[in-house]
Amino acid sequence: MEHIVKTENLVFEYRVAIEGDESAIETKAALNGVDITVSKGEFVAVLGHNGSGKSTLAKHINCLLSPTSGGMWVKGISVTDDEQLWDIRSSVGMVFQNPDNQIIATIVEEDVAFGPENLGVMPAEIRQRVDDALLSVGMEKYAENPPHHLSGGQKQRVAIAGILAMRPDIIVLDEPTAMLDPIGRREVMRVVKKLNSEGITIIFITHYMDEAAQADRIIVMEEGKVVMEGTPAMVFEQIEPLKAIGLDVPQVAEIADGLRRAGVALPQGILSVEHLVEEICRLK
């Protein structure tokens, strides 16, 4: 399958002042040799606790950060090629954690239009893109509303619409549901999955294991490295290693694991309530 994002031994270092000694500078690696590939149209979830390097990796994908060493290619273009920086940025949209920090206009549709306006898109085309984007995230009814009256989930969908209006190939979402309530989280997940089914590549950073379980593939990061990679079923079988690096597993996986440990013969890779219930019923 065609690779849309690829990294080879990607390293990103930053320098921090050492406390108490003004002249001493220490180098720390936020990414320490990352090799990943993401295929076109894939839905990849990235897990890892705070400080593991996930956000740093995300920021490399649309060239907000530039690698210290190693290689990275987005749509086959090297991110170190300054000439083509804008090609990469217009193909990769980013959605961040706090919806309030991403909305700048006083009217929803104006906010969504901000991106394409800056890309120099023609007015008639902008109108079309804004309408399409709002429809796609289910916010068309709120086009003329002020954003501050919206719920967190609705604001986050407006932020996604703003990205869609730039017609990206890849959307990177950095903990987009962390500040939302259960209804808002579900709304955002539904939109993300819909966009993925329409062919947009999704890179989704989250702490919620139930969200990661819906991805095609999970990448787990720890101390600037990829420590686990595979389908949700494969990754969530590694209950002990996941817990050791401070991550959760979905309760269903935990129940299945508890039963297996007690000697019950259950197959691997159980992630949904239905699947678990079906397997347990077979035992009777």
Partner: protein, 283 residues
């Protein structure tokens, strides 16, 4: 110290076109030392309710009785009541402002007119229970990690020695490790300081692990109340108001429907594993 809320109703912007009933005849009794979970989605009225508990909002209709005293009746008593009920807002780390961790935590007690010596002791005690070690007391709170900042902010409230601690979404935005750390510390506070704790959360899993009793609030009304086992068993009722039970509760329900003889009210993975094993081993 018991809390008794009777017929509490609150209407925002009363008499204007934006009038909104945020609380609608709420009745709750909380005993001293209880650990309470308050669940409801955004806009359900839970923040309005907790703002009443330390009289940031005064009861307009109905009453709140804390330790036999009707709060909000006598304005001169507000300060005393507010020092009994500590409120930790959402993202409390946004309220940090001092130059050092120590000074930030000391701000509350110093303002209450407490002696420097007593303040020092309170600050040390509060920081100890939230797990901040003395060697970083003189650091700026802004140099800490998100979870640490939040624990310092909670210490600031603890240093006022409240008898009731109300926490609004204390785990929002934290990673699993930061979340476990905070919840563990809150459990300690409840047990060691014998505090009455009211924990507001969206996370059923968090609530399930900690609390004695749950109130579910919806459209300004108490929709459900009871022990965790009773609440988590009511899957349909929870879903109707846009919430969900724990994944374990769903597994338990499906197994019961498939003819497994499981007891009601299972909501933790450990418990269901035990019960399934009993059933499976019978065969």
């Amino acid at each position: 110290m018991s809390i008794k809320i009777e017929n509490l109703t609150h209407i925002y912007s009363k008499g204007s076109p934006f009038e909104k009933k945020a609380l609608d005849n709420v009745n709750i009794t909380i005993e001293k030392g209880e650990f309470i979970g308050l669940i409801g989605h955004t806009g359900s009225g839970k923040s309005t309710l907790i703002q009443h508990l330390n009289v940031l909002l005064r009861p307009e209709t109905g009453s709140i009785i804390i330790d036999g005293e009707n709060i909000g009746a006598d304005k001169s008593r507000l300060k005393a009541i507010r020092s009994k009920v500590g409120l930790v807002f959402q993202y409390p780390e946004h309220q940090l402002f001092e130059m050092t961790i120590f000074k930030d935590v000391a701000f509350g007690p110093s303002n209450m007119g407490i002696s420097a010596e007593e303040t020092k002791k309170r600050v040390e005690d509060a920081l100890e229970i939230v797990g901040i070690s003395p060697d970083i007391y003189e650091k700026s709170p802004f140099e800490l990690s998100g979870g640490q900042k939040r624990r310092v902010a909670i210490a600031g409230v603890l240093a006022m020695k409240p008898e009731v601690l109300v926490l609004d979404e204390p785990t929002a935005g934290l990673d699993p490790r930061g979340r476990d750390e905070i919840l563990g510390r809150i459990k300690d506070m409840h047990e060691k300081l014998n505090l009455t704790v009211i924990l507001v959360s969206h996370s059923m899993e968090d609530i399930a692990r900690l609390v004695d009793r749950i109130f579910v609030i919806n459209h300004g009304k108490i929709a459900l109340s009871g022990k965790p086992a009773e609440i988590f068993a009511q899957i349909e009722a929870l879903e109707e108001i846009g919430l969900a039970s724990t994944q374990t509760a769903y597994v338990a329900k499906s197994l019961q429907e498939a003819g497994f003889m499981l007891p009601d009210g299972i909501y933790t993975p450990e418990h269901i594993v035990e019960e399934i094993l009993k059933e499976v081993n019978k065969c």
